[in-house]
Symmetry: D2
């Protein structure tokens, strides 16, 4: 049998973001200050179907033993998917997480945590993103997460989520 | 064919807790103050293979739209499993979450959120708990979660969990 | 602080099934013969928000090493949720799984596997069930699963599930 | 703030496979004939941290409604991770799934299903893979899965899984 030489590809129907990293961050800072965007959580980049958020953990985020706590990483990962969705469909803040699953793979090193989100699906009512979390300067993943979001209907925005 | 009349049972090999709700809470308050135990998060009960934690959400825990945010509920659920494990194996704070998955089922009503954890498995190195989250006074679940924890070896305890 | 004496409860709004175990099994045998119901998979019981399916594994279901394979257990668990849903909403075969997660906890002993499903949520469009899998005669779980199902709209049933 | 131009990357420490697609398939055909490899399931490619398996569904794999059943897709996805692991660590058939989660995103079109696995982590005792499932000729995902595997210790093979 012929064996193909293939690369892993998650998704083809790429969509370009509608908001820049700076625009999403500014909106979140003003409308959702408790999210810590622009401070502890900085949106470093958005690209076609992707977003990157960098978090600087502080003492309140530590688990006994000194490692960054699981819920802190979960919040970062969930936020990275939220950022990716908003960047692509525009400002629809009532998008909500409907499921979230995460595997913790390695204790994070001290320093910043970087969350890279890739949207796996971006439909009118449902979006799914995966997130790779790593410590600054380390290639191995700290955690890997998949989250699904529900996008409210009638966002008043005919062009939003025109997929599917 | 004969049809049985059965009840759902998750697990049989019940183990009694080694620490009371008050003992776990006191330990967490002194050793892990950033967890908010004894304040925002109160450990209401521990029983054979179970634990209940009540959370009073405040403004910082709100998602745009006014509902309690996903990460807040995730942190509560993860904490409820941690509490249940510690209550049953004794004070082994370096137990860490290895995977966590949650389905959000209903927007929480204003008021306290109650997290009921049941341990599905309690082994020497691995513990698994499920958590039912609901709003005070409402029977329907807000969310349902399953978390796995890794328990460190050589806890200094000849027979695991024979704490203190 | 007063500590409560509580039991774990998953859900209150119990609903009684609309179909018996025998009725669901007969329907599945005639409409979905490839599911093996009535043969390899027997529906032993349905009750308020619950269903039990017993599976007799055969050689085709074995993983290298002789244990029942993961996909075989996944199929059984997914089927048990499907059975529980159909029993409660009536014959709506186009209900489909939208997410499925499982933790494998113990290698199954030789012999039958019993899948106990409990519905966590039973809404008009969404149902969620958890499944405890164990070997016949052993109390410890082989696996624990959570599955979400999407129920099609307009099942021809004015009030959802007013089946037949 | 400077915004980076980044691409999503899941993992860096790439490892080359030790077995070819044909070698893994031949081993599975002879040692694990019930897996259907070389027949229904064909291993089309393995590459650094990846594997691709193609499945031709038949009648036994159909859900009511004519779509490929959830458990069939789960089995394919689980198998694709198994293939990727074996290709990279060598023939260690007792590697077993410890957790598995999947989101179903779209009904598969008639025809073959292609499962692309990428290993997210490949450690000595733990491997994690994600799988993108799609219908032949369609770019959108049918399902996305994450599976964790436990690799037995003392495989007698010093070089196997020499990561971490």
């Amino acid at each position: 049998m012929k064996r193909l030489d293939v690369q892993f590809k998650i998704m083809s129907p790429m969509k370009a973001p509608k908001m820049t990293a700076g625009e999403v961050e500014a909106k979140l800072m003003s409308e959702f200050p408790q999210g810590g965007y622009g401070k502890r959580n900085r949106i470093e980049a958005v690209g076609p179907m992707t977003a990157r958020v960098r978090m600087t953990a502080d003492e309140r985020n530590l688990h006994p033993g000194g490692t960054v706590s699981g819920p802190t990483l979960m919040g970062l990962a969930d936020g990275a998917v939220y950022v990716a969705i908003l960047a692509h469909i525009g400002w629809v803040p009532l998008a909500v997480t409907t499921s979230f699953s995460i595997n913790f793979l390695k204790k994070p090193a001290p320093g910043d945590i970087i969350a890279d989100c890739r949207l796996i699906k971006l439909g009118k009512r449902l979006a799914v993103g995966e997130v790779a979390l790593r410590s600054e300067g380390d290639d191995e993943l700290v955690a890997h997460c998949v989250a699904t979001y529900s996008i409210p209907p009638n966002s008043g925005l005919p062009e939003f989520g025109s997929s599917k």
